[in-house]
Amino acid sequence: MNRALLVAHAVLGFTAVMAATHHAAHAVVAALGRPQARALRRFGWIAPASVVAQAIAGLLLYPSYRLHVRAAFLERTAPAAVQWFDLKEHLSALALALVIGAALAGRAAAEGDAPRQQRWSIAALSSTGAAFLWAAAVIGLYVTSRGAG
């Protein structure tokens, strides 16, 4: 059960990273003055849906990690990896708020003719959220490699 959940968490995690990155790229292009209404509408639901789904999978896995990985051996064998994992969790939580906020604002801006300042604000939120998800994914791979090794 946990192994299947771990695989689902990884797949959903990379889906979230890619969707949020697409949203950020389209938000930046829209801020530069080239309308991206269709893409912002499309990734305006794919990105938050995938981020929420991967967060739920992660939250379900967390007790098992705490008990069978962290307390069982990671704190002893790789204490630095434990600290990095904590940072990953914090970045993921902040990305959750940023991606949902940017997606909602991006969808609303796609419907109307939002001024330049608003488009850049959405691009900043979306890009920060995507960057946090990338960092969380890389840290997650590092911690998994330490846990498996």
Partner: protein
């Protein structure tokens, strides 16, 4: 009906700012939050965690509640005085403050 882009963006910015504050404060001030003990499979409310107990669920719950409440308030009250760039800068600064705090904890520990 087309949603007002500025109203939606301001609500999102208020939500993100409140989420960042609500995520950071309970842990740093050791406020009582929901704590889960995976060994005993039991929830409780506590200020500090011991053993394998974890406060991540509680911190996230507080942050989500703060974010949703602030976004709903901004949506209902329609604040328009602060320039949007300033509001976005403030929200991202609060997020950056969270990251700086957690990075400092990481660097102090490793």
């Amino acid at each position: 009906m087309t949603p007002d882009p500025e109203r939606t963006l301001r609500a999102a910015l208020a939500g993100i700012a409140a989420f960042a504050v609500g995520y950071l404060l309970p842990g740093t001030l050791q406020l009582p939050v929901l704590v889960y003990d995976p060994a005993a499979r039991a929830f409780s409310v506590a200020r500090v965690v011991q053993g394998v107990s974890m406060r991540y669920y509680g911190d996230l719950l507080v942050a989500c509640a703060a974010g949703i409440a602030a976004a709903a308030a901004a949506w209902a009250l329609r604040p328009r005085r602060t320039p949007i760039a300033v509001a976005a800068g403030a929200a991202l600064s609060l997020v950056a403050l969270d990251v700086a705090f957690y990075l400092s904890r990481l660097l102090a520990a490793v």
